[in-house]
Amino acid sequence: MTAYEPVIGLEIHVQLDTRTKMFCGCELSFNDPPNIHTCPTCLGLPGALPVVNERAIHFGIMIGLALGCEIAERSLFHRKNYFYPDLPKGYQISQYDVPLCLGGRLGDVRIHRVHLEEDAAKLNHLGASGRIHGSDRSWVDFNRGGTPLVEIVTEPDIRSPEQAREWLILLRTTLRQLGVSDVDMSQGSLRCDANVSIRRTGTSELGTKTELKNMNSFAYLERGVKAEIERQRRLLETGEEVEQETLHYDPATDSLTPLRSKEEAHDYRYFPEPDLVPLVVGEEMLAAARADMPAELPAERAERFERELGLHADTARLFAFRAELGDYFERALGAAGSQGNGGLEPAELSNWIPPLVERIGSDADPSSSNVTPESLATLATMVKAREVSRDAAREVLTLLVKEGGDPRAIVEREGLGAITGEDDGLAEIVDRAIASDPAAAEKVRDGNMKAIGPLVGYVMRETKGRADGGEITRLIRDRLQG
């Protein structure tokens, strides 16, 4: 079987969280009665003209800065012409060959461009089909029409569906931290299309790409891209060709159906929007955007976690991309410091976040759980000081999640304190373990350390996990080899 490598690029639309629309003064809204936030401009009435929303430009520049783009001193709005009932002017005002931001990078994916445009209105179809064809009646809600949008286009640097998902989460966290958007995929304030092609591993030529739409969750993005890679692989393996087309992803069936093929591809007849003057970004606007930038963006935070705190790369990314985890971790780290942490390494502390997340539900914010950062720091410090074994500490954590409180008190109450080598009880259990499995003991005595497992296991069982595994190993070895 030939090995194929996927080549994936993303096109992301982000609704900006401005007070008003992109080209008029109508308020942005959600779930309001239809067509109440409208005016001559966003309804495309004859004679009405667009005026650029300064706040949207400001947000656009902030996004460009966050993604390391070059901000164009002068960019242009264009008209993108096509007919559809959700497009009241018959053209969308967008940016074309001179966009606001060019180049850039987020994490390991290069950014091609970032530009500003306006959102279409919302079409609703009554009738069985749920689409415009064959519907009994369709109606348009112009509340959404003209919402400021930023389109972010990546270079085709993504190589797997999982990477696509993870990168999109990074982008969401970044945008959320900038405070420029709700970035909620289920509500459509973050929308992602994917351009997918595959090629023989080792070649550099790009294959024919398809464009995937309607993946309105992170999971669907991953599944949709995976399904498309599979579909393309099957085509190529049976000697067929991939056709350049736009595909609609159906999450219910994991299937991809063509939206339109290239034969009916639009000629959008882009030309510079004569109702607007060129968008000039001066030093003042740049300075204002810089002043509103957060101190540290997720990609920078991941790097700091990894470089300065010595966290594992995956953990560093997890904490940075899910800011609530990173925030919780940093609070616990601070608490450990002020508790006199007994040499607790940040990486050791970080290892306690995933078990906590596992216990509170993977999407929950640990800050709103019963476990305070202080108590997690205490617990980790206790483990480090061997006051409690790792296994026992997990039990304590379970109890903390359930009832909160102070880990020391719980250890005390439940009698979960560590049994150490100085403890006669532990020495006695070690003896019992050796007696219970003479064959294993013999092998260890002969230097076969692989045989030590059952003996350690025996002691762990007997101490209900309160003794430290390393400590037990050391005791057994001392007894048998010493």
């Binding site: 495309g44 009435l45 004859p46 004679g47 009405a48 003209l49 053209y91 007849r269 109702d275 607007l276």
Partner: protein
């Protein structure tokens, strides 16, 4: 009654402010004439004078204004001469109309025009052609033909129109009145149903230069709703010059050659007017505008291209005509636009769509924009040596109805001498300079951007010397038909 009609707008405003005549009386006098109009100049006439609203103390004294159909007027039909907007009553008023109203010039009526301002004869109106008050077998020019005819016939004291490629100046010339096309950006376009956004400008059509200056003074200024509008530098004072001492007039030989098709009678009158200017102290020399002969070609790519997008909003979805599409969206679109647009509008939409098509953009639209830049440079260079450019407004006098309907190119040539200024965005004024075979001839002066004050002053001096008598159509061409 007839005494009231004999007053220019400025004179009438003066008398009202002095308490010698009443604004309501004046409005009523014009309202009656407009309602009885037999030239088909009006598409709507106010039913009554506005309630007393303090106009008498305002700068324009309550002197009513006739407004070209394409200006949106709240609750009043604004159809841009098109069947597709038949009966359309906008929910808002164009900035320029609101400004004039605020200055004391209430709406008298809406005037007929070529559909979407596309035409030079006013024969392209869905509401029938307008007749020239000097000779009812002839056209009034276009596209602001209704405004020009109404003012010339004395059924309106003054009017506003729009000029995209001569649409104020040419009908003013053919009807023997004054027409000013301002600098692009001097007046807000908000609420003007767009033809070609980068060229459209509102301007006055008046009986004399003083009226034009008075009206223009109250039309100008930056509008927050139009990004292309500009703060007007300086004031527009009432014109007072009585001579042209020190004024250098350039006559562009590139436009006065055989290509422009200037009729002998027009040429004769033009020469005579130049001689008069010389007597008034002006110096007259030939000047070069080497790219100006290409203006018409460039114009007929740029204007239709912009129009093809501007007119996309007329799709039957939200307002205006809708022709049922038997449950099919595209059928609804095409039937609506097939029935709603006239042949000239369709021709230009097709031209423009073609010019913007992928693969042709650079050759047509791109090249046209380059030519446009060259023409603007030509004018800039010329204005280093000359104060104004002098040229006939139209190569011909009013032609017979139907004479050029079957030959669009012959029709387009009417604008050969007016289009270069439009492409350069500079102001130009047409004043009546005499008769040729009993029909008015227009003399055009063009100046650098924002030179309207000087331009009006020079036009005023010439006007005094010419002593054109525009009285005849007011007695036998207006409402009281022979």
């Amino acid at each position: 009654m007839s005494e009231l009609i004999d007053l220019t707008a400025a004179q009438a405003a003066e008398r009202i402010r002095a308490g010698e005549i009443s604004a309501t009386e004046l409005f009523e006098a014009y309202r009656e004439r407009a309602a009885a109009d037999e030239l088909n100049a009006f598409t709507w006439v106010a039913e009554a004078a506005p309630e007393s609203n303090g106009n008498a103390s305002k700068p324009l004294g309550g002197v009513p204004v006739a407004v070209k159909d394409l200006f949106c007027t709240e609750g009043v039909p604004s159809q841009s001469g098109s069947k597709i907007l038949e009966g359309y009553r906008p929910p808002y008023t164009a900035t320029v109309v609101a400004k004039l109203d605020g200055a004391g010039a209430p709406l008298l009526g809406k005037t007929n025009q070529d559909e979407f301002a596309m035409g030079s004869s006013n024969e392209n109106s869905a509401f029938g052609p307008v007749l020239n008050p000097w000779d009812r077998t002839r056209v009034p020019g276009g596209s602001s033909g209704g405004s020009a005819a109404a003012v010339a016939a004395g059924s309106a004291p003054w009017a506003i129109g729009t000029d995209t490629g001569g649409s104020i100046r040419q009908p003013a010339a053919l009807c023997g009145i004054v027409g000013l096309k301002p600098t692009y950006g001097a007046c807000s376009r908000y609420g003007m149903i767009a033809f070609a956004s980068s060229l459209d400008q509102a301007g006055p059509l008046t009986r004399d230069v003083t009226d034009a200056a008075l009206m223009f003074r109250h039309m100008i200024g930056r509008d927050q709703l139009d990004s292309t509008s500009l703060e007007y530098p300086g004031e527009i004072a009432p014109p007072s010059s009585e001579d042209l001492k020190g004024i250098r007039l350039g006559v562009p030989e590139d436009l006065t050659g055989a290509e422009g098709g200037i009729e002998p009678g027009v040429r004769e009158n033009f020469e005579a007017t130049l001689a008069l200017a010389e007597q008034l102290g002006a110096s007259i020399e030939p000047c070069r505008l080497p790219h100006a002969p290409h203006a018409l070609s460039a114009y007929y790519l740029i204007a239709p291209a912009e129009a093809s997008a501007n007119l996309a909003r007329f799709d039957g979805v939200r307002y205006g005509l809708r022709v049922d599409g038997d449950q099919d969206l595209v059928t609804m679109y095409s039937r609506t636009r097939e029935r709603g647009f006239g042949p000239e509008v369709k021709r230009r939409i097709m031209l423009g769509t073609y010019a913007l098509s992928s693969g042709y953009y650079d050759a047509y639209y791109g090249t046209a924009q380059k030519v446009r830049t060259k023409i603007a440079e030509d004018f800039r260079a010329a204005f280093e040596r000359f104060d104004f450019i002098a040229i006939p407004t139209s190569p011909c006098t009013a032609f017979e109805l139907g004479a050029k309907l079957d030959d669009p190119l012959a029709m387009y040539l009417n604008d050969f001498l007016a289009v270069p200024m439009s492409l350069a965005g500079i102001p130009a004024i047409s004043i009546p300079s005499g008769l040729s075979d009993g029909l008015p001839v227009g003399f055009q002066l063009a100046g650098p951007a924002f030179s309207e004050s000087r331009l009006l002053d020079a036009a005023h001096a010439l006007e005094r010397a010419i002593q054109f008598d525009g009285g005849r159509p007011m007695t036998d061409g207006g409402g009281n038909a022979t």
